[in-house]
Assembly symmetry: none
DNA sequence: CATGAATGAGCTTTCATTCAT
DNA sequence: CATGAATGAAAGCTCATTCAT
């Protein structure tokens, strides 16, 4: 997954050749992004001032503008980085040992813990908050984030269907169903802050357990019973 | 000095009797809220200026401040109004004729069409965008909006469980499951703008149909087969 | 002292003829001035809003503009009224029984108590605060207020000089000297708020007593000693 | 968010060491104060807008807010500076050669010329104009300004009393008396703008001369005559 | 390169004044 | 006449961005 070629923070090939980039310090760049992350997730895009970021990142104003053309580019770069961090290894859970149910359980547990974590929920809110004004960015976040995880899940399902272990007509749709079922009573309450704390392991287990049970009841062929 | 309503002899008790302030024009008030709605959903809270609203609502700056103490109060009032508008009659769908599946189908169709509509999705984004800074407002929106609908659904399920038509251990949880299943492949893509248009009737039917099928397969007792 | 002919609040002859004045209610007019007085002395001219006055006077905005053309005219009218109230009867103290010293004592006591009272000190501050922008008004306030009192005092002195009881070259100057001596340690501290409370009778007595003693020591001819 | 100095890495301790804020330009600071002085003394506190000051000081709006947190702080800083400038060396006049009368004459001349100068009278008006709303500031101005001068005078008198050259019971009171006597016919008319121009040398000489004469007549022991 | 002082457009909010009722 | 809702210019203040050092 070579996402790097169209990072918003690196607008075009010029950057990798011209003198602006020469000598840029990736450590300082990350330092800025780290500060920006704290500020943006706390205040949202508009309410965050470049001064806030400057203070939080412990760099000067001018320095930020060396690394990022403007506030929006800084924001987009940051969100790109966050997306990559968040959704980097969700598919891992599907590989490995165990029954289908066990592997689904592992996968569901991982994504619920991940997606409903404080940091990810906050990132969601920030992105959604500017979704109307930066539509491609929000769409891209979804496409390369959650959507990607579901594709991996769909591929897994497709393999199991072909192996005769599952009976699913539309695996992409089923992947969506399973994912959303896993966080059924969690994701939206978390997003709105109605559920203040990260879900406990017990809560996650129960939710994902319910999802797996329901999913298997419907999609796993039982002797003498068709599903879809 | 702090003189929002511009009423000199406004004795306080009168204010809280009928309309909010004696002599205020509810039509103009709604006119302001309508303008504010257009602006806020387009730009989000912070990026919307009072001037934008002034222009969109076709009232003067001062007039807005006669009806609303400040930008935040205007926003909160608006969001309250939107919430009430949106989630006023979702439970209707559950009453009326038909089998359980038919009624669930009706309910699911209604909430998906509603919650995933452009206007509601935009309202969600706006609220989520300020969720970090106005946490109670976002939480209240969820509690009195989506949460309420789910409670009605849970009550319906409880009745059917008691009638022996469904076998459900935790109806609240099951209500969440059903709701989220209904919009499985729709809500999140819509929220992020990945799915640009409102779902078609066909898409909704398919999604809700899948949810009903899965739900019934798991929670409706079949002769000789236990569920939970 | 027919001051009424050039009251700022009665701009010209038109008012006394045209329909604007016909039917104006002097009670309501005073009601407005009373409210304005409370507000202006509390906040100063600029920081007082017409709404504040409206609230304090318990009249509507429009009503104020029936009686006064604008904020400035209201202010000037008020200050004119206050001046007349304050400095109406200071000369009384000089007439009546008693030695020169006794009468000076009476006069001094009266003006110190008056001029250093809370209400007059506040009026002073308000007028001085706008003195740069409404110079004629402030000057007129002084001319027809304090200055007038001093003229009465000078006349008294002149009479006593002619009677051979005092030896004074320039009575106007001596009147100033006596007046300022009376409030020597009081007026300026009061004006700046350094002396928070109105002077007590004892303080006044002492201050005026000192003034009289000093004045008499210098200006009253003693056998075998010339003064000025 | 609240970011007056625009310094990101401004660690707090540095701020209170030398100049107020590391890197701030004292020349520009004075430039702002000079402009503010012109505007404030012309219009008073409330009627002076930050834009006026901006224009008069020839700096941008933002720059003012780098040096001063808000309008009030700018004003207070300015008044503090003016106070120090005005009342820095009034006591000098008392030291040096000459008889008591000569030294009093010198002192009186100096303070009258100073206190009744255009610039000081204007400063008085501005301060008094906000005295009701910033009482401590006005009181402090008096305490550290005029009051201080009088204390020096009182000390001088005390020394002369102890040397047997004067007979004064309460030197502080006498100092007030002498001071106010010096500007008897000048200070108040000036304050109200009734005396439009700064007093001439002749006027001052006469006024102070009268004060010295009166003061000495009362407080200087003459052979065979007691005073108080 | 890094810095942060300077800019000025633009923000939210206030208020003297008007005028339809 | 009295009322007070409406107006819109102007207030204090912020902040993304630039640029001399």
């Amino acid at each position: 997954m070579n996402d790097k070629t169209d990072l918003p923070g690196c607008p075009g090939e010029l950057l990798r050749q011209g003198r602006r980039v020469a000598g840029q310090d990736p450590v300082k760049r990350d330092q800025i992004l780290d500060g920006a992350h704290r500020v943006f997730t706390r205040l949202g895009f508009d309410a965050s001032s470049m001064n806030d970021i400057t203070r939080e990142a412990n760099v000067s104003k001018g320095t930020i503008y060396v690394y990022f053309a403007n506030k929006e580019e800084l924001f987009e770069t940051l969100m790109e980085r966050e997306r990559q961090r968040i959704f980097s290894d969700s598919e891992m859970a599907l590989t490995g040992q165990g029954t289908i149910a066990e592997r689904l359980m592992r996968y569901g547990t991982l994504i619920v813990r991940l997606v409903c974590s404080d940091v990810v929920i906050r990132a969601h809110r920030v992105i959604l908050g500017v979704g109307e004004r930066m539509p491609e960015m929000a769409a891209r976040f979804y496409e390369r984030g959650p959507q990607k995880g579901k594709q991996a899940l769909a591929l897994f399902m497709k393999a199991e269907v072909e192996a005769g272990n599952l009976v699913i007509d539309d695996v992409e749709f089923a992947a969506h169903q399973f994912s959303d079922l896993c966080m059924a009573a969690i994701f939206r309450p978390r997003l709105f802050g109605y559920m203040a704390n990260e879900p406990t392991t017990a809560e996650i287990e129960r939710s994902v357990g319910g999802a797996v049970a329901m999913f298997m009841a419907y999609y796993a062929p039982r002797p003498g019973a068709g599903a879809a």
